[in-house]
């Protein structure tokens, strides 16, 4: 059972502005599209589909399956300013491993929003009785790597020249893991 009763949840950022955290709904297609459009190219590299196509984003919003991918959005008014998605497998050997992807609007970086999103996903991972959270980050995204490490993620491995961005340039991939408390008992 996914613990969604804590939403909507209001948080305060470092500049004393507020944001609401809540699961993405089928009505969020426009907000998500506007959010993804302003992201730097490198932040969009990991998507399996072309997020520059509006129909792709709208299809995502219409085909939500929280058991497989739980996207938590940070919104200010109607504007989506961040997203944190927890991907899970229902069966198989990775069913207790949650994959984490966090994206933050360029205007909302360095305000503690990224860290707040990590806290949120960590909380969900604990509540869903996962054994590990796993985050994959391009090495150039140093602020994200530092924030994950500060929140207890540990570098498991760095793959050199392992992934390509959408122009074909190669980048190092940092894989970070965080054990959940149930695993350590």
């Amino acid at each position: 059972m996914i613990p969604l009763d804590r939403y909507p949840k209001e948080i305060t950022l470092r500049d004393d502005t507020h944001a609401i955290l809540r699961p993405m709904s089928s009505e969020d297609g426009d907000g998500l599209w506007n959010f993804l459009r302003q992201l730097p190219e490198i932040d969009k590299s990991h998507f399996h589909e072309d997020v520059d196509r509006r129909e792709v984003v709208e299809r995502w919003a219409k085909s939500l399956d929280y058991d497989a991918a739980l996207p938590i959005l940070a919104v200010q008014g109607n504007r989506v300013v961040g997203s944190a998605t927890l991907y899970r497998n229902r069966t198989g050997w990775k069913q207790r491993v949650g994959i984490v992807r966090i994206l933050i609007d360029s205007d909302f970086r360095h305000k503690g929003l990224g860290t707040a999103m990590i806290r949120e996903i960590r909380h969900l991972g604990e509540k869903l009785a996962l054994n590990y959270l796993l985050a994959e980050v391009i090495e150039e995204q140093q602020a994200a790597v530092r924030a994950l490490e500060r929140m207890g993620f540990e570098r498991a491995v760095v793959y050199r020249n392992f992934i390509n961005d959408r122009r074909g340039d190669l980048h190092n991939l940092v894989v970070l893991l965080q054990p959940m408390s149930g695993l350590e008992k």
Binding site: E10, T12, R14, H110, G112, T115, R119, E120, H123, M151
Partner: protein, 104 residues
């Protein structure tokens, strides 16, 4: 960084009080990750107290403080309050600099 035995003992007592207060605040909250971090902070504190002092003890106290900061951050997050700012902490204690910074 150099610290005398008295410095270490005083820091250890302060941290012990801080962790106790954090534990009291956590009792009414359902934040498993924060409970885990508090346990790690206490482990690090006990490690500092049971060792032979010196740099190892200082390192353990530093670890305990880092875990404590994370728990404070979780508590503030749960209550919808602004994130804890290490810079404020440094200003309050007249520290020259802090080795960590929230920047994402």
């Amino acid at each position: 960084m150099e610290a005398t035995t008295i410095d270490l003992r005083r820091a250890s007592r302060q941290l012990e009080r801080l962790l106790h207060e954090i534990g009291v605040a956590l009792e009414t909250e359902d934040i498993p990750a924060a409970r885990k971090d508090l346990e790690k902070a206490l482990e690090a504190l006990y490690s500092a107290e049971s060792g032979e002092g010196g740099p190892d003890a200082l390192r353990s106290l530093d670890h305990a403080l880092s875990y404590a900061h994370r728990v404070i951050g979780d508590l503030l997050h749960e209550k919808g309050l602004p994130p804890h700012s290490p810079a404020d902490f440094a200003g309050w204690f007249d520290a020259g600099e802090v080795p960590f910074r929230e920047d994402w």
